[in-house]
Symmetry: C2
Subunit: 331 residues, 2 copies
């Protein structure tokens, strides 16, 4: 059997270029005891990938040059020498950007396809959905009538945070980079107020929409937006750092929040979310979100692209904001 | 009766200049009903004063040009038309940098001089001591065997934090700007390790002294030191922001911590201390610290300067690090 895979050819200086990747084919090795062969159906494109293309940090090792690009992928077990996995079962994990993946079963998650189709398990029922769920509920600790502001709100994490916050009785303000995305947040996700950060002044709009300040800031973007949010905190505010998409292409000169002392004067605190810390509770969360989807309380927009060869250009869309909904590459 | 007072003549552009202040004399007004006349004995010189000399923020209003410079001061009630205060009692409050102050008794704190002499009530038994006590115990939540790093450790807040942390069973690392201050921390305050930030590399020394990372960072300085501390957090670390003395002369271009995402990866959180939030518990804290002083478990170094006319040059010492111990101007 021949495998097609996306390999890392070179590390980006700053922005990702198409030629940082190569698509190569290679015969698959024979299965060893305990191994399973997964036919990948869907590959998640995630902001963290930019970091994985670098040399690496203490937190996470970079992808080696020539190795298959790391990715969360999901697919069907088509051969198994592992008692834990049966042929026909669906799984997800760090299976890489490729057509087939051989795994020893460690860190492989079984997917309950009755809860949603395979691509959803990379989005709202997968890591981004879990990041939204635990980041909001465990770190943001929303209370009824709290005002929450979410940056990068049209992304899968942001839109899920906002919709769960609505379920919890909060007033939800989100910012995004186009009128189309803002309309989507208002009309399909039920946000109360939206800010198009490309045409509107976030600070001015926050002061208008949240004159008493914001109780929760869920940060997906970092940079100056974080500073604006810090300047608008209500007393006792929780700042949840989820990502910093504005900074991922700029790791050598990160924008540090100049207004960090506002956390002190607001009697607030800043913390973050590492979603794998809640791995044991993922099944319950998947269940709850899946129920909300069935009850039409949550809407999960997907942006599906077909074809492994589209990997480089699809990934770049994440950093330019061109994607609209959870970006998944279907193999 | 004639009062001598320090007034704010002009706002500093960046660094405080002697001629931002003027010393003027003026006859005292007659006492109105409910008012008390306090003869000031000691004036606290505090980092926050630089901010008070500016136009003001939402958090705290600046001192008006021509008005007496705001300060925490302590002294004796020498006349009283207020039933709450008797002649001969000692009080402290925002009584200003002057010889006499008239107060309506609001926000005036009675001092128990049996717990320590008047200048101590502006230091370890006053706001700085309370900041150390509540910042460490309520926000840093020290546990036995935690490693704590304190920047600006030779100041009254830092040295008190370190000594209380020792009482709580922590390993205490402090940084300061001279070998003399470092020796003081080791020999008189019982710190375990010290770093002279002018001659040693803080990052290198933290990695040597706290190879597993720091559980608590008590930040008195801000700036790049905060970034170094963030890069050395242990899992679950608490970052307590108390001050940012390195930034007070630089408020239009604050250094934002570029490593703020390290708080997330360390599963830590960042918060701060507003000491007045604990006003009700001050008497208990004063009692406990005063007992520790009597038991020789805590040592409170003072730097006393005599003469109201020395106000401007004394205040400047805070920002150059020339003071050694709690800086108090004795009238």
């Amino acid at each position: 059997m021949i495998n097609t895979k996306v390999i890392l050819k070179s590390r980006p200086k700053r922005l990702i270029e198409n030629n940082n990747f190569d698509i190569v084919t290679e015969p698959l090795a024979d299965l060893q005891p305990n191994e399973v062969l997964v036919q990948i159906e869907a590959i998640s494109l995630d902001p963290a990938m930019r970091g994985w293309m670098d040399e690496g940090t203490t937190y996470i090792k970079g992808v080696s040059i020539g190795a298959v690009m790391r990715s969360f992928s999901a697919g069907k077990v088509i051969r198994s020498k592992n008692d834990m996995f049966k042929e026909g079962e669906y799984v997800s994990g760090l299976l890489g950007a490729q057509q087939y993946s051989i795994s020893n079963g460690e860190n492989l998650t079984k997917l309950n396809i009755s809860k949603g189709k395979v691509s959803l398990h990379l989005g709202i029922l997968g890591m981004p959905g879990m990041t939204a769920y635990f980041g909001l509920l465990e770190k943001g600790t929303p209370k009824k009538e709290d005002v929450i502001y979410i940056s990068g709100a049209a992304g899968i994490v942001g839109s899920t945070v906002g919709q769960i916050a609505k379920i919890k009785g909060c007033t939800v303000i989100g910012s995004a980079g186009s009128d189309e995305k803002c309309q989507y947040l208002l009309n399909e996700c039920g946000f109360d107020k939206v800010i198009n950060y490309k045409t509107e002044d976030i600070d001015e709009k926050l002061k208008e929409y949240a004159p008493e300040g914001i109780h929760i800031y869920y940060d997906n973007v970092g940079g100056p937006t974080l500073d604006i949010a810090l300047a608008n905190l209500a007393k006792g505010a929780r700042v949840v750092i989820c990502g910093a998409i504005s900074q991922y292409n700029n790791m050598n000169n990160i924008y540090g929040p100049k207004n960090y002392m506002k956390i002190v004067t607001a009697r607030g605190h800043l913390t973050g979310i590492i979603v794998f810390d809640y791995a044991e509770d993922w099944p319950n969360a998947i269940n709850e979100i899946s129920n909300w989807i069935n009850e039409k309380k949550i809407f999960a927009k997907e942006h599906l692209i077909h074809g492994l060869e589209k990997f480089p250009e699809s990934l770049k869309m994440l950093y330019t904001g061109e994607n609209f909904g959870k970006l998944v590459l279907m193999v």
